[in-house]
Symmetry: C2
Subunit: 413 residues, 2 copies
Amino acid sequence: MSLADDMLAMGARARTAAGQLRTAPADRRSAAIRAAAALLRDRAADILAANAEDVAAATFLVDRLRLDEGRVEAIAASLDQVAALPDPVGAEMARWRRPSGLDIARVRTPIGVIGMIFESRPNVAADAAAICLRSGNALILRGGSDALRSCLAIHEAIAAGLEQAGLPVDAVQIVPTADRAAVGAMLAGLGGAIDLIIPRGGKALVARVEEEARVPVLGHLEGICHTYVHASADPGMALDIVVNAKMRRVSVCGATETLLIDRAAAPDLLPRIAAALAEQGCVLRGDAESRGLAEGIEPAEEADWTAEYLAPILAVRIVAGLDEAVGHIRRYGSGHTDAIVAEDQAAAEAFLAEVDSAIAMWNASTQFADGGEFGFGAEIGIATGRLHARGPVGPEQLTTFKYVVRGTGQVRG
Amino acid sequence: MSLADDMLAMGARARTAAGQLRTAPADRRSAAIRAAAALLRDRAADILAANAEDVAAATFLVDRLRLDEGRVEAIAASLDQVAALPDPVGAEMARWRRPSGLDIARVRTPIGVIGMIFESRPNVAADAAAICLRSGNALILRGGSDALRSCLAIHEAIAAGLEQAGLPVDAVQIVPTADRAAVGAMLAGLGGAIDLIIPRGGKALVARVEEEARVPVLGHLEGICHTYVHASADPGMALDIVVNAKMRRVSVCGATETLLIDRAAAPDLLPRIAAALAEQGCVLRGDAESRGLAEGIEPAEEADWTAEYLAPILAVRIVAGLDEAVGHIRRYGSGHTDAIVAEDQAAAEAFLAEVDSAIAMWNASTQFADGGEFGFGAEIGIATGRLHARGPVGPEQLTTFKYVVRGTGQVRG
């Protein structure tokens, strides 16, 4: 069979499995996730051996690719956590009665078949499988070629977990080849079998998905996150938040990439912030005004305002006030997470209303942009599109709903 | 300027207007809708004159195209109703506090810029404008060439209403040309200006949109709705529901197109149903078994099971029971609305659980598939996709949400 035929067959099996999964009880889906976690622990040596082959062949991003015993345990523990989460499937989101006497309920249901296209990090395979099982969705995984052996080994444990729990193994499938044509087949929808594509990876991958997809996409674009220090900010709080927002982990999408600081507060605060960041090895790139206020700030170019550094680099700009800060965020931001630090409540509420990103924050670090921190238990990313789900995507965000209407013989007049 | 440039400029104006609209107070948006309704009434003669030109030039679907004084009044009254609906923008959908002390709210916000591509019925222009203004979205309308003069006249009233209310006239724009390249430009997203495309029209239009769109689409596909009469059905109720579900209005997407009837109930019920439908001028097309049970049923072909007749024609099939009925619906249905008539509660609940359409009904006519009947006040259609919104699409379904996070200086550990 050709790759195209193989992919269509995979889609058909996923569709069948999705039908079975949709009506499978929650505890059986939990059992499958827990069994997969146990099998990941049992097979850690095999997984690490497969990973070592990937690492040996890798030419870049080796850090994201490499597993060790601790990371395998972390993946298994994450699965156990998802297994313990409340199950969203079948929950009544609302129920009301109409003057006609009709009883209408809005009930959560799985979306169906999710296609996950991702790069580098093999843990994504396990996390996505667990979150899809928790939400009753079948999953087709397509990892990057650099992590293929690791992902196949992880997938084996998941498939065995499904089998142990009496669920169809086709509920979680993985594309077993590095052939890039497989991505094209998934983006075309596998003959109507895929309901939603979730891309996780670099700009080139996301651009290809946006360009080619013929099915809905839950986009995870960049996190060009801003922290705006208002003139009314408490200086100590501003310092702590900016340093944490940038430096706690520089590689996460919720890391602040641009600091906006009010002209009135900058002469006092910027030198202290710059010094604290420099001490942690962070490079600042600022506009001319900021460079006049603190030592060692490099000149920023236009491209710095749209850079997702994911590195110890911070762009800095002095602004006249709230309006200019909001204007900058609207123009250059990516709709991910943006924060204001302010004691002035009216200014803060104006910021929260006017910034239309997935997450608008007041007096908190942008690094809280995370499904776990939001109480969702797990996430497979932060959606930056405007439809279906915004912000952290956990099991609940991977459901849709249907209306269940109960009558007593009503006909419409 | 070329059409492409004109369209990009329209998109840029819509994006600017969306920003203003998003923070405009609800009562100003209500005022604009009410002013548009009043202007539609004032200008009824002009609108009818424009419509007469469209009708004179039309070669098909003249019924859907034709306006008269009563229809213009109905359009205006519908706008007044939308103006009186509760405003969804800014509503807190949920709010909770995390162990970190962060206060997280999920707040409804407008989607942004909606592109509406529709055919024939000029009232869609007014309905879509009202629902978009109620939900704080800017709108770009692109009607079919056959209704262009009518839609332009209706749009003039809406633009004047926006102006009277002090809102940007660019909040609702209409493509002023019948050039089909305008549709292509909208499907490409107008340089990132369009957040969501909503197609309303025939199969050819929807197919083009699904094929070409580079932005999210809220699909309104066909309504291949089923009514399944279970063996336990109350015969009188089944008769009333089937006749109403098919014949109340045959041209709506919630009209039943296929009757499935249990083998045990068919010998008694089918002749009565067939006679009642025949009396109202409905043609039945059935499988061999059904044709043996009642007079005058024409033979059904495979294509009848996927036909959206929108006409007094009903496909009929005898089934062995619930599983076969659900299997038929899964195979041939369009995920719109499907109903069971049954006294057996366990069978009904199994049907409601297993049928995964946007609307699953028990003992009610599929013609209740309607935003008004659901209590949404207004709708611009019934979504048949699985993402973002399913079923009736009213103002609330045209919103998205953002998270507003209020802290007291939290940094992440």
